[in-house]
């Protein structure tokens, strides 16, 4: 194998090369998902929900979409191109739970699916909850 061939093979196999081509894809996908969320929110507002409830139902809808795309095996394909564009919106949170739930079925329902679901979501919840409690305590005692 010549050096050129090796370089080609190496570049083909190494994940997420830090080039700039991922950035526009992340921008377009992330922006597109957020515009879609805006559309969904307006639909929920149209059914007569008030602001907070419509926002919550929008999150639920986007999470449903994320889980569905993961279950159909499409999420990974999109994420390979879109990177942070699918990871950072709440669809990424949904994917972190559903992909683990599916992947670890082979290790049993309780010890696989139910435990591994929270591999990524667990830390997110631990830190998110703790930060909100801390903020609540500061509001209550100091402000």
């Amino acid at each position: 194998m010549s050096n050129d061939e090796y370089k080609k093979l190496y570049e083909g196999l190494s994940p997420g090369s830090p080039g700039y081509k991922n950035i526009p894809f992340a921008f377009l996908t992330g922006g597109g998902l957020c515009a879609l969320a805006q559309l969904i929110k307006n639909l929920w507002l149209g059914t007569g929900l008030e602001e907070t409830a419509a926002s919550a139902m929008t999150s639920v809808s986007m999470i449903g979409l994320g889980v569905l795309l993961t279950a159909l095996g499409l999420f990974g394909k999109i994420a390979r191109v879109a990177g942070a564009g699918t990871l950072v919106p709440i669809t990424g949170f949904a994917n972190s739970i559903s992909s683990a739930a599916l992947e670890f079925k082979s290790e049993g329902f309780i010890t696989g699916t139910c435990v591994k679901m929270f591999t990524i979501a667990g830390p997110v919840l631990v830190f998110g909850i703790s930060a909100s409690v801390l903020y609540g305590l500061i509001l209550y005692f100091l402000l």
């Binding site: 515009a35 999470i63 279950a71 950072v88």
Partner: protein, 118 residues
């Protein structure tokens, strides 16, 4: 116009995150976790509210929005219930999303076979 702002706001946050992933080797788990905490912090400092006002779902759909919802929830709960609210407000605001993600994933695990490693 509302949709364009959501697109721009969400797009910029995701493009910035892509740079973070590419340049710093932060794992996705760390990014998601720090974004939720940052969302709480930025909301507590009053910085994120104007972003949400401008970007709409472009600001609330990225994981910052999760932290934003939790911080707003805890603020409201503390003003209504005092100390109890400090404990219940954040999780209550996130409850629908978390329950949906867990329940939908459980159903998916029953109905689907894993396609490929993701």
């Amino acid at each position: 116009m509302e949709y364009l702002r959501a697109f721009l706001c969400g797009g910029l946050i995701c493009a910035f995150s892509q740079v973070l992933i590419d340049r710093t080797r932060l794992t996705p788990a760390r990014i998601l976790t720090s974004y939720v905490v940052l969302g709480v912090l930025l909301t507590a400092l009053g910085i994120y509210q104007p972003v949400v006002k401008w970007g709409g779902c472009g600001a609330t759909t990225p994981l910052f929005g999760f932290g934003y919802a939790m911080a707003e929830g805890v603020k409201k709960a503390v003003s209504e219930q005092g100390l109890l609210g400090a404990l219940s407000g954040g999780l209550s605001a996130a409850a629908a999303g978390v329950s949906a993600a867990v329940f939908f994933s459980l159903i998916a695990a029953f109905l689907f076979k894993p396609k490929s490693r993701e």
